[in-house]
Amino acid sequence: MTDIEPRTDGGLEWTYAPAPESRAIVSFEERYGLYIGGETVEPRSGEWFTSISPASEEPLAEVAHAGPEDVDAAVGAARSGFATWSELRPAERAKYLFRIARIIQERSRELAVAESLDGGKPIKESRDVDLPLAAAHFFYHAGWADKLEYAFPNRRPQPLGVAAQIIPWNFPLLMLAWKVAPALACGNSVVLKPAETTPLTALLFADVCRQAELPAGAVNIITGDGSTGAELVRHAGIDKVAFTGSTEVGKAIQRELAGRGVPHTLELGGKAANIVFEDCALDQAIEGIVNGIYFNQGHVCCAGSRLLVQESILEPLLGKLRNRLSTLRLGDPLDKNTDIGAINSRAQLDRITELVASGEAEGAELYQPACELPERGFWFPPTVFTNVAQSFRIAQEEIFGPVLSVMTFRTPAEAVDKANNTAYGLSAGVWTEKGSRILWMADRLRAGVVWANTFNRFDPASPFGGYKESGFGREGGRHGLEAYLRFEG
C-alpha cells in the first residue's frame, strides 16, 4: 500500500476575511423615551440609563428608566388601548399582525444588526435565527386571530385584558415576539418591559408598531431595571403576567401575585441534559452538542448544558468535541464568520467566572481551546468540564454561559435518572439512530421539550415551556393561545 507522499509545499495559510455586517444600517437615537399610548414620552421619573455594546463597552443610546408613575401611565394607556383593540374585528387584528410581521422581515437586517450590537450575539445567529423566528411568530399568530373559536370550540374564548410582559436579555426581539404576538392575536393589550441590558430592539419595535399604524395603546413599551418590572407586576391594573427569566425572579413574581387572581405564565431557568447514545450519528451529534451549549454563548434557558454520554463512546466523542472547539471563532459579533460573540453583561460574565472557578475547585477537569479574547468587552472562551459528578454545582446550577459539563451513563434507564435529577425541566436532547429508544426516552424525560437528533430548534407552532422549577404555561402553538384567553363556555 502506498501512502500519500509527504507534503512538498507548505500548505496554505487559510485565513477567513473579516466579513463585518455594516452597522450603518442602524441609526440609534441618542435617547429613547417610553412608548406609551402610541407616543414616545419622557419618563416622569426623570431618570435615564445607558445601554452599551457588550462587545466593545461603547455606549449605544440613553434609555428612559420607568418609575412607578410611568408604569401607572403605561398600564392606563394599555387599559384604554384594550378597549379599542379588543373591539376590533378579529380579521382586522390579523391584518395588523401580518403588517408587523412583514415590516419585521423588511427591516430584518437593521434589527439583526441592532440585536447583535446591543446584546453581543453573533450576527449569523441574529440574522438566521432570531429575526426569521420573530417574524414567523407574528405570521403564525396573525393566522390565529380570527380562528380562536375554532381553536377552542364551544368555549367562547375572550381576551384577558392588559398583559404585563417581562422579557429577558438573551433573545430580546424573539422573546418580545413570543409574548406580544399571541397577546395581540387574542385581543389583549400589552405593557412590555424589555431587559435592562438589551432594550434597543424593543424600542425599534415601537417604531415598527408606529409604521404598522397599530391602534394607540395596544402595545406599550417601558424600559428599566428589575424595579420597573416589580412595579409592573405589583400594579393593580394588570390582568395577566407573562415572564421569561430567572427562577429566582419567577418565584418573587409568584409571591407577589399570590391571592390576586392574576393568571400568569413563567418560563424560567433550565439545566438541560443532552443525552448521546453510542449508536448516534457521532459527527452530527458533535454539531448538536456545540449548537446546544455554545449557541448564543450559552445564554439560552434550554441550553444543553449537561452532556450525558454513554460511557462506551466517551473517548472518541471528547476527541471530536475538542477538535471541533478548536475551529470555533470567537470575536466581533458583527463579523459573519463569528461563531461565539460577547457575554451579555459584566454581571453575567462574573457569574460564569465564579461558577467555572467552583467547578475547578470541586475537582472537575477544565478544557478550553486556545482562543484569543478581545481586550475590551465581556468575553468567555468555550469551556468543557469533564469528570463532573452529579453533585457539583456546575452540574446542578444554571450557568447561562458557554460552559458544558460532561457526565457519563451506562444504560438508558440511568440516562433518564440522571437527566431528570435536577430542579429544572425545560428541555432535553436525545441522540440515537434507534427510533424506538427516542420514544422510550421522551416518555420518561421530565422536560417540556425533547429534541431528537437536533437541538435548539424552535417553531411558532410548537409549544415551549417547562416542568418543575423551569416554570409553567406554554408559549407557541394552540397551547400558547390558551394563556392569553379566558373561557366563557
Partner: protein, 311 residues
C-alpha cells in the same frame, strides 16, 4: 476445522481500534455543509486559494469521442493553463481513458503533471474482476501513474461488501506504487450512511484517495457528500494515523464553489490537507473560471471568456 482469521488488510489499517462505522444524520450533515458554505475567506488568501485550486485540478476528459488530438490539447492546457500569465501553475493531473494514457504520457512527460487513467470498466464497474485488474495494469503500462477505479456498486448495493473489498485489494495490488483513487459514485449509493460505509471500505482496502463520482451520474459531487467522506477520512486518520486523500468530481464549475470545498476541507481536516497531494478536484470547466478569477484578482477587471483558451 480451520480457524477463521481476519484478512490482513482489515486488521492492519484500523489498529489500534476499529473505526466506528456509525451512522450519518442527513439533516444535520447538510445543515453543517450549508453553514460552512457561508464562510468568507480573506482577500489576501483568495489569490493563493485560486492558485492552489489550479494545482489541485485533475483536468478531465472522459468521452467516447476522445481522440489523441483532444488529449494533446488537454495536456497542453494542463501544463500551461494560462499562456498569457506564466505564473499560473500547472494542474495536478490529466484524467483520461486507458487507451489515451500513452498519448497523455508523451505530452506531459517531465512537466510534473500526472497521468490519471480511469479503469475497471469505468463508469459502471460491471465487468469480471480479471478484466478490471487487466485494465488497470494496461493503463499503467501505457503510462498512467494514477489509477481512478470505480467501486462495484452492484456488489455494494446487494450487500456483497467483502467482494467489493476484495476487488479493490486486487486492483490495489495491480497498481503497485501508483496512486489508487477509488470512485464510490455517491450519486448511486442513495444514503450518506452508505457513502460513509463505502468510504471506510475503500480506505480499508487500500485506497490512496476516495473520490465521489464518475461525472456520468447526477448528482455528482456535492458539499454534504464531500463533508461526509472527509469525516470518514478524519476518523481513519485519528484512529490509525493513515493519510487518505479526497477527490470530489463532477459538477464543480465555479471558483466560488471550489473555495467552499476548501473551506469544508480546512474545517474538517485542517491545513495539512490543503495540498494537491491530499486533495484534488475532478473537473474540466472549473479551470477556466479559476483562471478568469485569477486574472480578475490581479488586474481588477473581468475579462471576456474569449480570452481564455477552450481545449
Amino acid at each position: 476445522m480451520e480457524q477463521a482469521t481476519t484478512p490482513a488488510r482489515t486488521a492492519e489499517p484500523f489498529e489500534p481500534r476499529l473505526t466506528r462505522i456509525g451512522a450519518v444524520d442527513a439533516v444535520a450533515l447538510e445543515a453543517r455543509a450549508a453553514d460552512l458554505a457561508k464562510r468568507s475567506i480573506k482577500r489576501g488568501s483568495k489569490l493563493e486559494a485560486l492558485d492552489l485550486i489550479v494545482r489541485m485540478i485533475d483536468l478531465t476528459t472522459l468521452e467516447g469521442a476522445d481522440t489523441p488530438g483532444k488529449v494533446a490539447a488537454l495536456c497542453a492546457k494542463a501544463m500551461r493553463p494560462d499562456p498569457v500569465d506564466t505564473s499560473v501553475p500547472s494542474v495536478a493531473a490529466v484524467c483520461i481513458y486507458p487507451t489515451l494514457a500513452g498519448e497523455a504520457r508523451r505530452r506531459v512527460d517531465g512537466s510534473g503533471v500526472h497521468v490519471a487513467s480511469v479503469a475497471t470498466a469505468f463508469p459502471s464497474g460491471q465487468s469480471p474482476i480479471a478484466i478490471k485488474v487487466a485494465e488497470a495494469r494496461a493503463a499503467l503500462e501505457l503510462g498512467a501513474d494514477e489509477v481512478d477505479m470505480v467501486m462495484d456498486r452492484g456488489a455494494f448495493l446487494s450487500g456483497r461488501h467483502a467482494e467489493v473489498f476484495d476487488q479493490i485489494v486486487k486492483v490495489r495490488e495491480a497498481c503497485g506504487p501508483a496512486h489508487l483513487k477509488v470512485i464510490l459514485e455517491t450519486g448511486e449509493l442513495g444514503t450518506y450512511d452508505a457513502v460513509r460505509r463505502a468510504s471506510l471500505l475503500a480506505m480499508a482496502a487500500g485506497a490512496d484517495f476516495i473520490k465521489t463520482s464518475t461525472g456520468k451520474i447526477s448528482p455528482a459531487a456535492t458539499l454534504p457528500v464531500t463533508l461526509c467522506m472527509l469525516e470518514a477520512i478524519r476518523d481513519v486518520h485519528v484512529e490509525t494515523g493513515r493519510v487518505v486523500g479526497m477527490k470530489p468530481a463532477g459538477g464543480i464549475r465555479h471558483s466560488k464553489q471550489a473555495i467552499q470545498y476548501l473551506c469544508v476541507l480546512h474545517e474538517t481536516l485542517g491545513r495539512d490537507w490543503l495540498t494537491p497531494q491530499r486533495f484534488r478536484f475532478g473537473a474540466s470547466s472549473l479551470l477556466n473560471d479559476v483562471l478568469m478569477q485569477i486574472r480578475t484578482q490581479k488586474t481588477g477587471v473581468y475579462e471576456s471568456p474569449d480570452r481564455f483558451t477552450v481545449d
